[in-house]
Amino acid sequence: MYSEKVMDHFMNPRNMGEIEDADGVGTVGNAKCGDIMRIFLKVEDGVIQDVKFKTFGCGAAVATSSMATEMVVGKTVEEALKVTNKAVMEALDGLPPVKVHCSLLAEQAIHAALWDYAQKHNITIEGLKPPVEDIEEIEEEE
């Protein structure tokens, strides 16, 4: 069902854990499947220095969180914003159709963490929308 890359990131998740004094923390959930993802960011001079995640979810949710953290670390916040769920999926060699929303969870968790970082540091990030509680709202827009 899952690609080798997905299985690899699921079995050996990168950046799993917490950042004690994170600059931004975002948590998003999906009421449809009940899954929840949390991203911790450490940002210095507008560049993401460290990122960690925690996920309550399926194999795809764990793998997309892991991949997404790898893809944003070292990037500026503006660049991180451009890491879409599509890009995460591609990096994982694809996901089964019923699992596409799991990658959206990863994208939105990063956005939520960036939003939290912006709020705490009183800055605005171009193009960043306030996070939603439940990513289903976004899915329905698409």
Binding site: F10, G34, F56
Partner: protein
Amino acid sequence: MERKVYADHSATTAVRPEVLEAMLPYFTEEYGNPSSIYAIARSNKQAVETAREQVAMAINAKADEIFFTGCGTESDNWALKGIAESYAGKGDHIITTSVEHHAILHTCQYLEKQGKRITYLPVDEDGVVSVEALKNAVDQDTILVSIIMANNEIGTINPIEEIGAFLHEKKILFHVDAVQAVGSLPIDVQAMHIDLLSLSAHKFYGPKGVGALYIRKGVKLRSFIHGGAQERGRRAGTENVAGIVGLGKAIELATSELEARRAQLIPMRDRLIDEVLRRIPYVRLNGARENRLPGHVNFSFQFIEGESLLILLDMAGIYASSGSACTSGSLDPSHVLLAIGLPHEIAHGSLRLTFGRENTMEDVDYILEKLPPIVERLRAMSPLYEDFIKSQN
């Protein structure tokens, strides 16, 4: 080599060697169409009739009350849609439970769209249907009650005999989905006052793609699959002779070994339940503690999600499921776990382990060795667990 433990017998079982052996001649040698007239087809027809007797014997019915179908799901569809139509003149109300298999639930939803009235009885926290609720639900338009004998997800057994006695007195037809029960529980359609009963061969070491419906003599049931005159005109389609022979042999073996099987499986089930509850915190057993299928265990592990758990168990050579296999394509939490009162996030973290004839106590030990660290690992990843631990401090 790592151990391999297949613990998903409620999903399906391997055909046992004796059963396959009984089936084999009917693929290549005795291949005549049993409805044909010539001699070589006659042994074929005979084989089908022997299987019919084997099924009848297993549930204390008569051979001419047994009709072969393509699967348990077809049996369920036939029973419900057939009765709804054949007894439309008598009433439009059907009663079932909220914890049925989808073969019943989705059929009921279809019938609702056709204008039938369906009552879904609640169950208690063990998953047992309330006989009181049933008594209150019947009215003069009730034509059928359909109750699962033993639940496929949580293993709980319903009081079929008590319900049957009540319905018999009320003269309301009684259908029982016994797909999970055959080979695990004694079944007697007379003593239990059952009018229609569904079963499926692949749940008791027979082949996939063949089932049966018991229809008590005198019950009107229109055909569901129309066509030729097979199964005395009630179920058309060239008979799956090899499959039917396999079903017959499998049910005969399963019934004769019923007590031995229970004696094998109950201690395994009980040890797994006791030890998991002892060794792992924040876990609950779903379904009744005692009143459950012999090899059937279902847990919910708080703070973790079912699919991740299954994948890690799979990596460790343990094959389990998170409820019913038929819904693995879906993201919804189990309707059964919601019906017994679990909140959404806990219903998501359930694990079903179901043992069968090839399993041993060593398999249980192996699961007890592998499961705790896997649960721990997933909890370490879980934001829900993090929140919970923080809230404890």
